[in-house]
Amino acid sequence: MLQKKTKNICTAAALVLLAVVIVCVGQFTSSTSMLRTVLQLGAIYALLAVSMNLCNGFTGLFSLGQAGFMTLGAYTYAILTIPVESRAGVYYLYGVAGWLEKLELPIPVALLVAGLVAALFAFLIGLPVLRLKSDYLAIATLGFAEVVRIVTASSPLNRVTNGSLGLTMIPGFSSYYGIFAVVILCIAIIVLLINSTYGRAFKAIRDDEIAAEAMGINLSQHKQMSFVISSFFAAIGGALMAMYMGAISSTTFTIAVTYFILLIVVIGGMGSVTGSVISALLVIASREWWLRFLDQPMFIGSFKVPLLKTGFRMVVFSVILMVVVLLFRKGIMGEREFNWDGIYSFFKRLFSKKKSGKGVQAK
């Protein structure tokens, strides 16, 4: 066991290190560098994974509506922030609705509104849907996500969502640090919530619903709370994604996006915030960056390595995922959070193993 003071120093050091990495990448790399992409995209996916974890991992509600709430968030954000002067260009085919023509909100306000819109939808959907359990809830929320996606592309909304053409010219933060600031703030709020008395109630519902209800925890109210908050942050994640990509359409957030986030959550560990963050960064890095070489033909001497061509990266990526899930049944972190005691005892074990190994050799 380490002392509390040492632990605090370690945590502070780790946070400073993280900040230094983000700053260094911001200062010394070009705006097209892979490291930048991975950090920014990783941060957005970390927020999405943590928000999904709040609902699925901490409250035990198996919801698959993430993509729907991301769509709501992304579209709300985009509609509210596309610069007035470029609106005519974006809505060139259908024209823009009258009330939208002069509407342009500052980025932070638009982000907040995006979250609130999704939260409102989550509240209304949650009333009937949260009575369902496990797989049934998953199917119902999946259906909701699909409905949202199709409705945004439908013709009655052409003058608001620009139909199937999607929205472009979506502004982002002028600074590279903006996304990180939003993500860190949101995750910090979720962590505070999880460690509060409400977070404990969520975990009680996850572990045993009947016992939780018998101990006076209002099930429907707390499930609703978790679902709405999770959707709020999912929408902010969606808005950040829109910001990052600059253009969205109804096919941007398909069911596959929900599964991808679920995959990050499961690999990181259901019920572990640090697990989700670590796993988001690792998964994004390997998908976007580390495995890139598999897409290019490679020659060893004059021998052409077989199989290496565009798309092979995703095959290897999937195989790695399968192996990881087989080896870590409960994800990288399980239900635990990152802590220094764990790291300390890990190295201690590693060290003592080496020592005992040497001892045997000496004999």
Partner: protein, 282 residues
């Protein structure tokens, strides 16, 4: 009536054509330990579930501290199927969910232990304190309720000290031995600050030594917290030892009630448990 902590009036619970609890009348006075006994399948746990709001009774009422908290009458499909008595006496529907009933001051334990498995002993008790919070979502998230949080933690530690689990407070709840898990479940129920404690077979699966300890423990709780206790139990030693009064159920019907000495010598009770009278009558 106001002396009763709990009063069950003409409660009938019918599932389809099966009458699980038939016209149950039961009273628990303040400070008493009352036992509900009966052979397997007599409807004891169903009676418990009716009292704690898991099921709404088909017909009848439940009073708590003199106020009617549960009431129901046969309606809908049950109108035709109903086989019990006192039809038409009750006309309104009151079906609070279990959490509402716990908030009124009734806390229960379960026949098969239902602790929150992934949590520590300390957290199990702390989670049960959630109900008595005064903070809202915002103040709890942004730590504006520090004083309440500290108070909750202190009370939890006190409670663990009283039930003798302080030394294992950081252990996982499921890593405890069986007897201690039972204790923890009772401690968790106490954390909701109840007036009435309902224990569903607290000694199930315990060896004689553990049962003796549990008997003492329940007595201690009554004196320390001025608690009123209603319990279901099969261990007759325990029941006869600590009960002030006993109710006996058989096939959903109340067949006897009284102080332990009366019950021990009641022929119908002996008959229900040993099944002698039936053959002779045929």
């Amino acid at each position: 009536m106001s002396e009763n902590v709990l009063k069950v009036e003409n409660a009938t619970m019918q599932f389809g054509g099966v009458v699980a609890v038939d016209n149950l009348n039961l009273e628990v006075n303040e400070g008493e330990i009352v036992s509900l006994i009966g052979p397997n399948g007599a409807g004891k746990t169903t009676a418990f579930n009716v009292i704690t709001g898991v099921y709404a009774p088909t017909n009848g009422r439940v009073y708590f501290n003199g106020a009617c908290i549960v009431e129901n009458f046969p309606h809908g499909k049950m109108k035709k199927l109903y086989q019990g008595e006192h039809l038409g006496e009750y006309t309104s529907v009151k079906e609070p969910t279990p959490d509402k009933i716990t908030q009124m001051g009734m806390a229960r334990t379960f026949q098969n232990i239902r602790l929150w498995k992934s949590q520590t002993v300390m957290d199990n008790v702390l989670m049960a304190k959630h109900m008595r919070r005064s903070s809202n979502l915002f103040s709890a998230t942004f730590r504006l309720n520090k004083r309440e949080e500290e108070k909750q933690r202190e009370e939890t530690l006190d409670l663990l000290r009283i039930v003798g689990l302080e030394d294992v407070k950081d252990d996982l709840s499921t890593s405890l031995p069986y007897g201690k898990q039972r204790r923890l479940e009772i401690a968790r129920a106490l954390a909701t600050e109840p007036k009435l404690l309902l224990l569903d077979e607290p000694a199930a699966g315990m060896n004689p030594q553990e049962t003796i300890e549990l008997t003492e423990f329940i007595g201690e709780i009554r004196s320390k917290f001025h608690m009123t206790v209603l319990l279901i139990e099969h261990h007759m030693d325990l029941v006869m030892d600590i009960s002030d009064r006993i109710y006996v159920l058989d096939f959903g019907k109340l067949i006897a009630s009284g102080v332990p000495a009366e019950i021990q010598n009641n022929e119908r009770v002996i008959g229900a448990y040993l099944g002698v009278a039936d053959d002779a009558e045929d």
